[in-house]
């Protein structure tokens, strides 16, 4: 199926982009490849019929947060520096062993884990039915504003507190 193929293609480009991203020495290149990773992930969400998440992923991460990253890099003129994050054999050893451990965990999931596909299929068909009925935004919005209103509001307050805290910390003392 073309959808399966597209999903695999998006997944492959996401992994490839992530690998390229962490191996770049130039921070701006890393940011650009991370944007690419976000787009690939959005593509995967689209193939899973999660249109809303795909759009929000691009709007928030691709359009807002990464632009802010790029902005800070440009403002502080860090873009041309090519320092290495991992210095010396000790750093390489620690980094390498963590990566190998992670790879092991992932392999364990793929090889020994249970097949998640039936669950995804059921969830997918339920999602498709709900989306046909309420629209793709309604599927997310309805529970958010009915069942989980309190949670949503509390999260909002939490974010507000962090914003106020940032401003308080960054505020210059009046001289």
């Amino acid at each position: 199926m073309i959808q399966d193929f597209l999903f695999q293609a998006f997944a492959a480009s996401a992994i490839l982009g992530a690998v390229i991203m962490v191996t770049r020495r130039n921070p701006v290149s890393a940011v650009i490849f991370l944007v690419g990773v976000f787009f690939a992930t959005s593509g995967m969400f689209l193939m899973l019929d999660a249109h809303y998440i795909a759009a929000i992923n691009v709007i928030l991460y691709g359009g807002a947060i990464m632009v802010l990253f790029l902005f800070v890099l440009m403002l502080l003129n860090l873009g041309h520096a090519d320092w290495r994050d991992l210095r010396g054999p000790v750093g390489g050893l620690i980094g390498g062993s963590i990566s190998i451990a992670f790879l092991g965990v992932l392999t364990r999931l793929f090889v020994g884990g249970t097949d998640a596909r039936p669950v995804v299929e059921i969830a997918g068909s339920a999602l498709r039915e709900a989306a046909a009925e309420q629209g793709v935004v309604g599927v997310v919005a309805r529970p958010l504003f009915t069942e989980y209103t309190i949670v949503l509001e509390v999260t909002g307050v939490l974010l507000l507190v962090s914003i106020v805290g940032t401003i308080l910390l960054a505020r210059r003392e009046r001289t």
């Binding site: 944007v35 359009g63 790029l70 890099l73």
Partner: protein, 419 residues
């Protein structure tokens, strides 16, 4: 007649993509000459008038010149990103057009072809998503050029576009409160009159959401980086900002991107607030394709042509307004721009959303069904809000000159430059 499916759908979509991309590029060409002509008219001169009849072939001459000119590559530039930036400048503006419905559905012998390239279920969220990546062209072009002027332009551009994106997205929330659907064809249908099917509002949203239109238009203007918001390329300060180091076709691509963006924003305003392809005072063009495939109304090929014309006229008029504003208003100072974005637009839009939400709650509590009267009540509320916005709030408080006593000889000289 049912919407097309299968192979015919694929063929129709490919056809629409090809035709629509060519038309957009042609429109961009015409927009450049149009802008120069209008500018000439407003400054009491002729504008380009040497190449071809009325100077119409000037765009072709310019295009050829840009193709044949030498492509420069600054020594300080970061090559891959320097080359990528013009592409990123042009790409979002053109693919945004995919979700804009530009005419009523066309009946063919294989089924009904909807006149929209991709009727994605996320509709205007797609617009926000793609619109939000438009900033990369500016930011990357500024950074990769390796020039201080470009870098400053890129910085200004990214700060400005991120700031106004918030207001842009929020100004569409009242629209969603009214329509309850994010798909662009559905938003167009909601502005038409139907006797069958789900209820609609029977009027263009420019009336019940007058203030929303104003906010959307202003943020759209800021998103396209055009005067009075063209700080990223303020030539008096930054040469031409982020595209200072670009020459020939790469520079041209930035320009094509800018004009495509102008046309796209004009088309979006048309779809969201001016009824899309709806022809005013005529009920024959009210054609609606419901989610389950049923078609209300009678689509014919000549209706498709007429509605396409209506869409073109509305979009062109809005492009004219863009050009008109460009040659009328002076450029903001950077602090004024940021103040307007963060200290006024954001708060005003948030309050506007709250007011509209409460009014809608009130209307529904009273029991007025969705339709003409519903829209009329909202229109009255909006008129009052617009009055407050334009006459009570802007008494030189919003956009003003320097601080008190900062300007030579001018104590508290406030300049109210429009809204």
């Amino acid at each position: 007649m049912n919407p097309v499916t299968g192979g015919a759908f694929v063929l129709a979509t490919v056809g629409k993509v090809i035709i629509f991309f060519s038309v957009l590029m042609l429109a961009v060409m015409l927009a450049t000459i149009f802008e120069r002509k209008v500018c000439g008219f407003m400054q009491d001169r002729s504008g380009p008038n040497r190449v071809g009849p009325w100077g119409l072939l000037q765009v072709i001459a310019d295009g050829l010149k840009n193709l044949l000119k030498e492509e420069t590559m600054p020594a300080q530039a970061v090559r891959p990103f320097f080359l990528l930036a013009p592409v990123l400048g042009i790409l979002p503006a053109t693919i945004l057009f995919a979700v804009i419905p530009f005419a009523s559905p066309l009946p063919t012998q294989w089924g009904l072809v909807e006149m929209i390239v991709a009727d994605v279920p996320i509709g205007f969220l797609y617009v926000l998503a793609i619109g939000s990546i438009g900033v990369y062209g500016v930011a990357m072009g500024g950074w990769a050029s390796g020039s201080k002027y470009s870098l400053l332009g890129g910085l200004r551009g990214s700060a400005q576009m991120v700031s106004y994106e918030v207001a842009l997205a929020l100004s569409l929330v009242p629209l969603i409160l009214l329509t309850g659907d994010v798909r662009a064809p559905e938003i167009v249908s909601m502005q038409q009159t139907f006797t069958a099917g789900p209820a609609t509002y029977a009027t263009w949203f420019m009336f019940p959401l007058l203030v929303g239109l104003f906010f959307f238009f202003v943020s759209g203007l800021a998103e396209t980086n055009r005067l009075p918001f063209d700080l990223p390329e303020a030539e008096a300060e930054l040469i031409t900002g982020y595209h200072t180091e670009y020459s020939a076709m790469k520079f041209s691509m930035f320009m094509i991107g800018e004009f495509a963006h102008v046309i796209t924003v004009a088309a979006l305003v048309t779809v969201f607030f001016l009824g899309g392809w709806d022809i005013p005072f005529w009920q024959g063009d009210n054609i609606r394709v419901l989610a389950d495939g049923t078609v209300i109304g009678e689509p014919t090929w000549w209706k498709t042509l007429l509605t396409l014309g209506a869409f073109g006229v509305k979009t062109s008029l809005l492009v004219l307004v863009f050009v008109w504003i460009r040659w009328t208003l002076p450029r903001f100072r950077y602090d004024q721009l940021m103040d307007l974005g963060w200290k006024f637009m954001l708060e005003a839009v948030t309050v506007y959303i709250l007011v509209i939400a409460f009014v809608i709650l009130g209307i529904e509590a009273v029991g007025i069904p969705a339709g003409g009267w519903y829209a009329f009540v909202l229109f009255l509320v909006n008129l009052a809000l617009a009055g407050v916005l334009f006459f009570a709030m802007d008494r030189g408080t919003l956009i003003r000159g320097g601080a008190k006593g900062a300007r030579p000889g001018g104590g508290d000289a406030a300049e109210g430059q429009g809204g």
